[in-house]
Amino acid sequence: MKLELRGITKRFGSLTANDHIDLVVRPGEIHALLGENGAGKSTLMNVLYGLYQADEGEILLDEKAQHFAGPGDAMAAGIGMVHQHFMLIPVFTVAENVMLGNEQTKAGGRLDLAAARARVREISARFGFDLDPDALVDDLPVGVQQRVEIIKALSRDAKVLVFDEPTAVLTPQETDELMVIMGQLRDAGTSIVFITHKLREVREIADRITIIRLGRVVGEAAPTASNAELASLMVGRSVELTVHKELAKPGDEALVVRDLSVIDALGQLVVNNVSFEVRRGEVLAIAGVQGNGQTELSEAIIGLQEKVLGSITLDGQSLVGMSVSRVLEAGVGFVPEDRNHDGLVGEFTIAENLMLDRSNTAPFVKRGTLQLAYLNQFAEEKTREFDVRSQGIQTPVGRLSGGNQQKVVLARELSRDLRLFVAAQPTRGIDVGSIEFVHKRIVETRDAGVPVIVVSTELDEVTALADRIAVMYRGSIVGIVPGNTSRDVLGLMMAGEVPDVITTVRADQIEGALL
């Protein structure tokens, strides 16, 4: 089925999220939609899926104009969507999830589960999925859950499939498998829209590439285009794709973690007997697929976890059992992985957020009173130094873009005297310009002799920043490998396997940190 979007425009108040976007997806092609976070990709797809109504423009399927009042219409017309966050019900079986919203019934309104099971088997067989229709979705690995989503779309005879950032939650191996599946679907005649911001994937699988920036189509490219070309189209200027850093000159061991286990509020062992050390002037990256204990590990260091066994010592001082404020006072800087949830108070001004974790002591507080004059001067200085773009230091932080918010967090944490810097997902959801900036500051911090821990699920970020990489899987560290370990090896380790031979790549071949 041929999908055509003509002049789609969608405004939210004064913001134009989509500005006259034209897009043609031919039958049996994979069309990549490439753009930064906030470029308007998701809005466009929500218009296509009937979740938003376009202010202008039209959607054509096989040259026929369509009017979608909701996802139901879009599905009926043959459009299917595989969401970034799966829209599945964990306690239902695969068959139940597939039939949900499209239930076939027998006489008396009884569900026809047998038909749904047969449908799942039939589609699985067609694409070589090995999928049990009666398995609970909750018990399936993430990659398999995504296949359930795909089957769900296909079971409604979707001729156009939209994949919204499908690889964000997958291990590298699962990503490779998904690429194969997408290829099969294409060969079976399905048109595919592939939304992503990862250049590597686009070049690997896409037939054509449309690049969106600030709500507009800024160009089309062939998959043969180089990373640099695609990146500059996406960002609107030429970008540094690699992080420039000298070889680390590691000093003494600063942070020593021994036999650390963390039990979460539900009583589960989320970090299992982990040991590592970080030296002054080196970056230890903690890699792994989301949800393998990295979050809890970083929280344990900062004092946010209550049930912690084992030892954490920083320069000989034990951190276990200390309150968060004492850990911060001991010189630990922390960038939490969800800045809106844990890092910033959205209603507070930039200035107030800059003193959030120093509300006890001089120079911000004297005799219980806030030193507003000092705070304002400090905030002016830091917003300039960290290039926070806003209408002034009294702007509520919630109004800033993700990148600027992250710079506020970074400015706050890096303007203390640090003896350890822990950054969790430091570049999640921020624009490329800010990513460059954040990476630069992290490397600078390292070069100033501070031990740095970067927790990241993005393999590119890990390989770009790390001097050593600890890979976590199910709460344990699978292994600690050199920073130039090849992606294949890291991918295997992220799936829990310990490879026999650690292959490495030469430093000058590490590429694509940013996108």
Binding site: H83, H85, M87, L111, Q305
Partner: protein, 431 residues
């Protein structure tokens, strides 16, 4: 919908691909009620004013509907509609003019001194409302619903009153001690709530409501028991009169009820303003109030701040009780001494959007309603309940900012330029 048991999701052990657990320990932040609070307190001054206007309009309609002359005239509305309109005008304007003359200036009085008396009455009524409103508002700002004003007032009244009538002490010292006892009593009753929330995660709304009952019956019991609070030689559940050394001095002489408690309420307003906008403690309160998670990650002791804020909040509510016991009703008090102020304080705090000076103004407005309500009933025969209805409507309109915005066609703040996240109703973002 299916034959599979919909049981709690079994989590796979040891992390694995299971849902990333939200940041560990149970600080028991109440994100949902926080959001409600944020919505209510985020409204602008305009919303507050419009809510009052709307409530007065609705009150006017009620007055007209319940007025007998209006009812009679509407019986022949189609032959002489003018009569009905005139009757409505007389009823509504009469009522609101009585409200004004009973609360600000009585134009029928013989001289200025008598004419201005209603205003001083308004301020007298406002004195405890401001103090209690500050207490409730401060708790709001730290993310806590303090519904326990009644209990805190009763305990504070008992403490202040006991010191006030029991110990003959010199002028000044006695008053100060009695006031401090009241503050301590309120702080104790509020502090229990903070402590329970911090230690056990018990929700403060339930705890404060239950502590209201405890305080009501405890104080009633003490008032009925000789040797505790009951006046010696009396069978009434009432305390002895306050000693003159412990009473707030009159501000404008004995012909007015206005007492020095007003100055204390003004001072409390200044104190809360300083606390919230200039102090380190208030900074932490506000951070905990809007984002307890970020506060915790930033090293702010969220649990401790729950306890501290409830101590201060209870202390401020205690000041309201002190104003009642040592200022307004100095002849000894019974169990009705709180006079509903603990609950009115919630309205006052909401109307003042939990800003100290907003609460101050709202407290005076509610004082005016109380003072004027009586003269409305006395002069125009309009039940004082109408005033209560107006007060309640104000809360309703404030609690529903979208309603006020819809009525006056105001734009919704914060919508422009923000993409709303789209979520399908049934869908679950698995894993």
């Amino acid at each position: 919908m299916s034959d599979t048991a919909v049981a709690a999701t079994p989590q796979s052990p040891s992390g694995g691909s299971s849902t990333p657990a939200p940041a560990g320990t149970p600080v028991a932040p109440a994100p949902r009620s926080n959001q409600i609070l944020r919505d209510i307190l985020g409204g602008s001054v305009v919303i507050s004013i419009l809510a009052v206007v709307l409530a007065l309009v609705a009150g006017g309609i009620l007055i007209a509907l319940t007025d007998e002359d209006v009812q009679t005239a509407s019986g022949y509305f189609f032959s002489r509609p003018g009569d009905t309109l005139q009757a409505i005008w007389i009823a509504v304007s009469g009522a609101y003019s009585a409200l004004f003359q009973g609360s600000v200036y009585n134009f029928g009085a013989v001289d200025f001194a008598k004419g201005i008396k209603p205003l001083t009455d308004t301020l007298t009524f406002a004195t405890p409302l401001i103090a209690a409103g500050l207490g409730v508002g401060l708790a709001f700002r730290a993310g806590m619903f303090n519904i326990g004003g009644q209990g805190q007032m009763l305990i504070a009244a008992a403490a202040a009153g006991w010191v006030g009538y029991s110990f003959p002490l010199p002028y000044g010292i006695h008053l100060v001690l009695a006031v401090l006892a009241g503050i301590a009593g309120g702080a104790l009753w509020g502090g229990i709530v903070g402590l329970l929330k911090a230690r056990t995660g018990a929700h403060e709304v339930i705890v404060t409501i239950m502590l209201n009952y405890v305080a009501v019956y405890l104080v009633s019991y003490m008032l009925r028991t000789p040797g505790l609070l009951q006046a010696p030689g009396s069978n009434n559940p009432k305390t002895p009169a306050m000693l003159p050394t412990a009473v707030y001095p009159d501000l404008l002489g004995s012909s007015y009820n206005l007492h020095a408690g007003l100055l204390v309420s003004v001072a409390a307003t200044v104190f809360v303003w300083w606390l919230l906008s200039r102090s380190s403690l208030g900074f932490k309160f506000r951070a905990v109030g809007v984002n307890p998670n970020a506060a915790r990650v930033a090293g702010i002791d969220v649990k401790r701040s729950y306890v501290t804020v409830m101590l201060i909040s209870g202390g401020l509510v205690g000041l309201a009780a002190v104003a009642q016991v040592l200022g307004t009703v100095t002849s000894g008090f019974s169990s009705g001494i709180d006079a509903g102020i603990g609950f009115d304080a919630i309205t006052v705090a909401l109307l003042g959007r939990s800003r100290p000076w907003g609460i101050f103004v709202a407290g005076i407005l509610f004082g005016a309603f109380k003072a004027g309500g009586f003269s409305m009933q006395a002069g125009e025969g309009i039940p004082v309940d109408i005033v209560l209805v107006v007060q309640s409507l104000i809360v309703l309109f404030i609690a529903a900012p979208p309603l006020v915005r819809a009525v006056f066609r105001l734009p919704t703040p914060g919508v422009t330029g923000k993409k709303k996240p789209v979520r399908l109703a049934k869908a679950v973002a698995a894993k």
